[in-house]
């Protein structure tokens, strides 16, 4: 490679150091990254549009499947927005149960991230052990909600499952075990020199840049941006539960690690407090099937940052518009900044450090000239278009999707 000459290297869409497809076009000079362009869209599923074709009740389960890791975040955010339009409020017990599930989800998400971060820097021992212990919280979620992922605990006006006294005791014991293990990981993260040296001064994002790029969640908090929706705009039971917002001033990947392990320890305290102060009473109030005309914005501090859902109702059983701003969409632009003038080898861990979720983020933007022709595709047309597109590329989905019934030879 000659001095001054640059090459373009595509990373992704398949396996761009992650399990999800997205594409990074890198302009390299030697080992140095000059420029990075992120191209989203390989995971676009049209969920916002699909919500308009489904009733609100069906919508909860669809919204929940935006993301497999922070499914409770999306569902709660959506449910909160709809409850605001309808003008109902979930009873205090339901709010607490939602909060407990939310914090359990944060624990599982951050433990997952810790493992992924270890994997990206070649510390697979950390991946194996942290994920082994993450099973404790996954089992707890299955116990409380009925499933390990996509918990389906939310419904309009409350929650679907109560927490029994036996379950409560069970949560306490398992939480103690998990907290013990997490303390160990905190000590590993803060004392293992190979890890610290690999993460220090990698993916630096200055506080000013974090604000300018609109970073959210642990990515922003690791750059001393003290923002947390749980404290700034309390929802659920967060107004009544004491907790510290963890920040770090390292501005690098190591800071993001410290923030996440710090948040883990806070989450244990919050769950204990919520369980000890669990109010009595009903777990749900009746909600109407039809949502009046109106609009609302739900805000929620997901494990990855602020999640925003906008819902507009039109007096029917189906929403008029649902708009999701997932935290990764806010963070992904910061990645380009973090990697400027850095080495190619830092790409995997820097991308992984924002804890990206591309299935949350992917969306379609159509840029139109103001004076150009406009068109609106309806759901059926969109679906037909998708089937035709795949057929042109040699895959025929039409039979698969149209048959509800199983063949009669069953």
């Amino acid at each position: 490679m000659f001095e001054g000459e640059s090459v373009q290297v595509p990373v992704g869409p398949q396996h761009p150091a992650l399990k999800e497809p997205t594409s990074f076009m890198l302009t390299l000079q030697g080992e140095k990254i000059l420029q990075i362009a992120v191209r989203l869209g390989y995971n676009h599923r049209g969920i916002e549009k699909a919500c308009e074709e489904r009733t609100y009740v069906q919508g909860i389960y669809l919204i929940e499947r935006i993301c497999g890791i922070c499914s409770h975040s999306h569902a709660t955010c959506f449910v909160q927005a709809v409850e605001e339009i309808v003008g109902i409020q979930a009873p205090p017990r339901a709010q607490y149960i939602r909060t407990i599930v939310a914090e359990l989800e944060r624990i599982h998400s951050h433990l997952l991230w810790l493992g992924v971060a270890g994997h990206e820097v070649g510390f697979d021992t950390l991946l194996m052990y942290s994920w082994r212990d993450r099973e404790i919280v996954m089992d707890l979620l299955a116990l409380l909600t009925g499933n390990r992922v996509n918990y389906g605990i939310n419904t309009f006006g409350g929650v679907r499952r109560d927490i029994s006294p036996e379950q409560k005791a069970d949560i306490f014991t398992r939480l103690n075990a998990l907290e013990e293990r997490t303390k160990y990981y905190v000590s590993v993260a803060t004392q293992e020199t190979t890890l610290i040296n690999r993460l220090r001064n990698v993916g630096v994002l200055s506080p000013a840049d974090a604000v300018r790029m609109g970073a959210v969640g642990p990515t922003a908090r690791a750059s001393s941006v003290d923002r947390d929706i749980r404290r700034d705009d309390p929802y659920l039971a967060y107004g009544e539960i004491p907790f510290k917002v963890i920040t770090a001033d390292c501005n690098d990947v190591y800071g993001r690690t410290l923030v996440r392990v710090g948040e883990l320890m806070e989450s244990y305290k919050m769950i204990r407090h919520a369980l000890e102060h669990l109010p009595d009473g009903p777990i749900a109030v009746k909600a109407p099937r039809k949502v009046p005309a109106g609009e609302a914005l739900g805000r929620y501090e997901a494990p990855r940052g602020e999640d925003v859902h906008y819902v507009r109702g039109n007096g029917t059983e189906k929403p008029d518009r649902v708009k999701v701003r997932a935290p990764t969409l806010a963070n992904v632009q910061a990645v380009a900044k973090m990697l400027e003038d850095r080495y190619l080898a830092d790409l995997p861990i820097v991308v992984a450090a924002i804890d990206p979720c591309f299935s949350c983020t992917d969306r379609l933007t159509e840029v139109r000239r103001a004076d150009g022709p406009s068109s609106v595709l309806h759901w059926e047309q969109l679906r037909q278009y998708g089937i035709e597109w795949h057929r042109r590329h040699g895959i025929d989905f039409s039979k698969l999707n149209n048959s509800f019934r199983c063949p009669e030879d069953h």
Binding site: E192, I196, K286, F404
Partner: protein, 148 residues
């Protein structure tokens, strides 16, 4: 104390421990009591209001009338997302979620659940209609709250 090899002791200890994984399928982990697994249908309780069909996010469930006040339930297990909203929606608790989760099949058509009322109890349609109990004749409660 900052030093490399912080996890070494843990790794060595684990070498002497039993594996954290289970020997599936020889050893099976039982799912918790309220797990949302394969659905089961109780034909005697179904009143045919079809609220489950209305709320199913995946259009996976169908309630089909087989005779007067007798209904059959069909669930496409490949479409079902196991949210158990139908269980919540059902005003008569005719559906329940089980702990079964091993649903893999070699053929798509086997991923199908069809639970019909007991043939001996199915009353023949039309002619024998008055024989079935009339006290319980309740119209399908379309105005009942459904979102559990």
């Amino acid at each position: 104390m900052k030093r490399p090899g912080r996890m070494l002791a843990e790794v060595l200890r684990s070498a002497l421990r039993k594996p954290a994984t289970v020997l599936y399928p020889f050893v099976k982990i039982l799912m918790p009591e309220h797990f949302r697994g394969r659905l089961h249908f109780i034909p005697e309780k179904c009143i045919g209001c079809k609220l489950c069909m209305r709320d199913c996010p995946a259009n996976a469930i169908q309630i089909i009338k087989v005779a007067d006040k007798q209904f059959r339930c069909e669930v496409d297990l490949a479409r079902c997302i196991y949210c158990a909203q139908c269980v919540d929606s059902c005003p008569r608790k005719a559906l329940e979620a089980s702990r079964e989760f091993e649903l893999a099949q070699l053929q798509r058509k086997d991923l199908f659940m069809r639970e019909s009322p007991d043939p001996s109890k199915v009353s023949a349609p039309a002619s024998e209609q008055p024989k079935t109990e009339s006290a319980k004749s309740e119209p399908a409660p379309a105005n009942k709250p459904a979102n559990g």
